[in-house]
């Protein structure tokens, strides 16, 4: 009964999350019983031993026997709780013999997933449109718990996660797996899960990581092995196609209109959170792009900072996250929007040559 309550801890889908749930309920019930006895005694005294009912105060104020007893009994109860807690913890921390290993990298404010055994990696960001957050559109069913590219894992396999971060501390949390581990910059943490049934599992970042901490959801899709294999093959084919397209693009000149339209989309999705939709930034926190000397004058520096980010600041590298075409478009957009009017168009080949230069 308690496990069906929407307002209780989830029992989750894995063996470990089930054990965690049982542990939670056990301690909860023990607390209830103790509370019932203690508060019961207290309210009995409040009702019976009140002056207005003529109660006369007794004068006892010590009893070594009783005091030792109510030190000893709680100790025994605690030992009883510690035993199952210890065995569950040991199981949770055992990451040996994994079948699949996935590196999870947090950054402000997106997740990056890399499959160790397969040559596949991609970013996963919030998919809820800004208008819903600003109350201009009706909110979707999975408001704030939806991403553009979910993590996909096979069922009935031990999946090991390696957590790390590119900037601040984040925490990767999926309640239904009972997995929550911090992603620390410069260090790697481990966690694992083994999901027994296909489904979509949702979670969120659980460590204050800056302004958009509340907008960093996690979606995991667990698939049958065959479906998973097929998905993996599709991803690889798609990646190959994208790479080919990129090569073709290098020779191509995109039109101003094309660049600006795509550029605006990319800007709003990836840059506006900090630099603001109007390019004015947040004084003291995020620099303005509108009228910025780098944007107006230094094309090379502009491309480089978008590709590689700026160490020690909140500016992340987008070189891996965005396609050449998107990078070209967003740089063009920034150089021509909000009155920046440099009139310069940046093409995929410009981006590629900066990329080669820095390799």
């Amino acid at each position: 009964m308690a496990e069906d309550m929407p307002l209780n801890l989830t029992k989750g889908v894995t063996e470990v999350s089930g054990r965690v749930y049982d542990l939670h309920m056990t301690i909860f019930y023990i607390c209830c019983v103790i509370g019932f006895i203690v508060f019961g005694a207290m309210f009995y005294a409040i009702i019976k031993h009140r002056k207005s009912r003529g109660a006369v105060a007794a004068n006892f104020h010590e009893s070594t026997k009783i005091e030792i007893l109510w030190t000893a009994i709680p100790l025994v109860i605690l030992v009883g709780m510690a035993i199952p807690a210890t065995s569950t913890l040991i199981a949770m921390e055992n990451t040996d013999d994994a079948d699949v290993t996935i590196q999870v990298t947090g950054s402000q404010w997106k997740w990056h997933y890399r499959y160790f055994e397969d040559d596949l990696e991609y970013f996963s960001v919030l998919a809820t449109p800004r208008q819903q957050i600003d109350n201009k559109l009706e909110k979707s069913e999975n408001y704030l718990l939806e991403v553009d590219r979910p993590l996909v894992i096979p069922i009935n396999k031990k999946v090991r996660f390696l957590m790390t971060s590119d900037d601040v501390i984040h925490s990767w949390w999926v309640p239904e797996f009972a997995v929550k581990k911090d992603a620390n910059p410069g260090f790697i943490n481990e966690a694992w899960t083994n999901v027994p049934k296909p489904g979509i599992y949702r979670g969120q970042c659980a460590e204050l990581c800056g302004k958009d901490h509340g907008f960093m959801p996690i979606v995991v899709i667990a698939k049958e092995q065959a479906d998973y294999d097929q998905w993996m093959a599709e991803q690889k084919a798609e990646q190959a196609a994208v790479a080919e397209e990129e090569q073709r693009l290098l020779a191509l000149q995109m039109s101003e209109q094309e660049l600006m339209e795509l550029g605006e989309q990319v800007y709003l999705a990836s840059c506006a959170a900090c630099h603001q939709p109007n390019g004015q930034g947040l004084p003291g926190m995020f620099p303005a792009l509108r009228g910025s000397p780098m944007v107006l004058e230094d094309k090379v520096a502009h491309i480089d900072i978008v590709l590689h980010g700026k160490a020690g600041t909140a500016m992340p590298p987008f070189g891996k996250q965005l396609a050449l075409k998107e990078l070209a478009a967003v740089v063009t957009y920034e150089r021509n929007a909000w009155g920046n009017d440099t009139g310069e168009l940046i093409q995929a080949s410009d981006i590629q040559s900066r990329r080669n230069a820095s390799n």
Binding site: P6, L7, N8, L9, T10, R19, V20, L23, I27, F28, C31, V38, A41, M42, A45, I46, H49, A55, H61, E62, I66, E67, W70, P74, L78, A85, T86, T88, I133, D134, N135, Y143, L144, L145, D167, V168, I169, S171, A178, K180, D182, N184, P185, G186, F187, N189, C205, A206, E207, L208, G210, K211, G214, L282, P283, G284, M285, G312, T313, A314
Partner: protein
């Protein structure tokens, strides 16, 4: 049992004769423990309202899903500064105010041992908080990294005003250390003849232990904020992996301060409740000695459990087990305290004046906070609770219905001693009942939000959390409004009202009840004799 000697008129006259400053300068220059106690209490109440106003902004934003009132960055500033103000501006100064007023009177001393330092330790506080609040208006805004200011968010990605934050914390720390030294020296040296350690009122005992905790951990806080300062502005890399540092080390240092700090905010409450419950049960405190031992063991344990705030940072299994077992152990002495309070009520002759009402609410609600603390201690389950609203519920039960309720209890209990007038019973009852109901509407449902998966410190949330958040916000507004009743009670009692006898409460025990009400400006210039 005691022989008081206070000849107030004579001393008041003498004081004038010294040419004591009048008007505002009396308060600026004062070295009198009662004046300084009053200043601390007024300051703490002002901060409580200011921090509360920020909480109202937070709850208004969370009333509905979506962003309606404030930007996420400003939301983070509100949560951060709310936490800092409540911890360092409201709870701690309120306890220091009570210590200043009551400790000398309880041990039969004429004043605190170091009165000039006492004046300084109060007056630097308003500067610290002005600086902190002013930073909100700087370009880039005030601190927005949570009151725990985890690196590297606070060292690398923080606003320019971080230097102000660091200096403000330094000043708060210096103030606390000076206050603590004063408390220790006073208790050790100025006890009236015959007042041996096992006759010390529990409030004095708990404050003595608290003062040692303060002296032990405030320098740790000063160290860690200084490291944040040099990492951010002077290119060191204590917490930067690229330079050979470790961001998790920040958390170890912070919580080595932070965990004892949460006990600093509850031990004096234990002393207050241990004074009030016997008074209104008309029966001596059950287990005085075990109360002292329990307090000391809680203080001792608090130094070896810090990492229970960091189970998810990736500790070795051995570390997780060690910190889990030690944390669970704290439940034992805490339990002893609760059982002793219940045993004190048992077969008493109880009445329910407002101080007692707050004390009773404290026992029940603090215990609920203790239960959720025990649940949090169980590491595998803490992975699920950590950084959710379950934790928010836990520490508000111990801090609001624990620390703050005990401060209210103390204020009502000693108000007649401070002002000489009884408070308005009807208003005080209204304050109690409104606070009690609203505070539970505010914090109890947060347990469920956390269990259902709502992370803490987020400005917007998924739709399934909407209904509960609405209830919580309504509770929040009601709790906020209720505090103005308290303000009215204080103003009324300060202005006048029914006169209080020296011993306001029939069952009250202690030296403070031997001096007239209001307590004269100078008390115990010749020490009372304790037999």
């Amino acid at each position: 049992m005691t022989e008081s000697n206070t000849t107030d008129d004579q001393h008041a006259g003498e004081h004038e004769h010294h040419g004591a400053p009048k008007g505002i300068m009396r308060w600026v220059l004062t070295t009198n423990h009662k004046d300084i106690g009053t200043l601390y209490l007024l300051f703490a109440f002002a901060m409580f309202l200011l921090g509360g106003a920020m909480a109202m902004i937070i709850r208004a934003e969370l009333f509905q899903p979506g962003l309606q009132l404030v930007e996420p960055n400003f939301f983070n500033q509100m949560t951060t500064v709310h936490g800092l103000i409540m911890v360092f501006g409201a709870v701690m100064p309120a306890f220091t105010g009570l210590a200043n007023w009551m400790i000398p009177m309880m041990i039969g001393a004429p004043d605190m041992a170091l009165p000039r330092m006492n004046n300084w330790s109060f007056w630097i506080l308003p500067f610290a908080f002005t600086m902190l609040v002013a930073s909100l208006f700087m370009e880039g805004g005030g601190p927005n990294f949570g009151w725990t200011f985890y690196a590297p968010l606070s060292t690398t990605y923080s606003p320019d005003s971080t230097a102000l934050f660091v200096f403000a914390v330094h000043i708060m720390g210096i103030s606390s250390i000076m206050g603590a030294i004063n408390v220790i020296v006073t208790i050790v040296n100025l006890r009236a003849p015959g007042m041996n350690w096992m006759k010390l009122p529990l409030f004095v005992w708990t404050w003595l232990i608290t003062a040692f905790l303060l002296i032990a951990v405030m320098p740790v806080l000063a160290g860690v904020v200084t490291m944040v300062l040099t990492d951010k502005y002077f290119g060191t890399s204590f917490f930067d992996a690229a330079g050979g540092g470790d961001p998790v080390m920040f958390q170890h240092i912070f919580w080595f301060f932070g965990h004892p700090e949460v006990y600093i905010m509850i031990l004096p409450s234990f002393g207050i409740v241990s004074a009030i419950i016997p008074a209104f049960a008309r029966k001596p405190l059950f287990g005085y000695a075990s109360m002292v031992y329990a307090t000391a063991s809680i203080a001792g344990l608090s130094f070896i459990v810090w990492a229970h705030h960091m189970f998810t940072t990736g500790m070795p299994l051995f570390g997780e087990l060690f910190f889990m077992y030690c944390t669970m152990l704290i439940a034992v002495p805490t339990g002893v305290k609760v059982f002793n309070w219940v045993a004190t009520m048992w077969r008493g002759s109880m009445t329910f004046e407002v101080p007692m009402l707050f004390a009773l609410a404290f026992v029940v609600l603090f215990t609920i906070g203790g239960f959720s603390g025990l649940m949090l201690a169980i590491t595998p389950v803490d992975f699920q609770y950590h950084d959710t609203y379950f934790v928010v519920a836990h520490f508000h039960y111990v801090l609001v219905t624990g620390a703050i309720f005990s401060i209210f209890a103390a204020a009502y209990y000693w108000l007649p001693k401070w002002t000489g007038h009884m408070y308005h019973e009807g208003l005080a009852q209204a304050h109690f009942w409104c606070s009690l109901i609203s505070v539970n509407v505010l914090f109890f449902p947060m347990h469920f939000l956390g269990l259902a998966g709502m992370p803490r410190r987020i400005p917007d949330y998924a739709l399934q959390f909407a209904d509960v958040n609405q209830i919580v916000s309504i509770g929040g507004f009601a709790f906020g409004v209720s505090q103005f009743i308290f303000l009215a009670v204080i103003i009324k009692a300060a202005k006048g009202g029914e006169k209080s006898p020296a011993k306001t409460w029939e069952g009250a025990e202690g030296l403070e009840w031997d001096v007239p009400s209001p307590a004269p400006y100078h008390t115990f210039e010749t020490p009372p004799e304790i037999k």
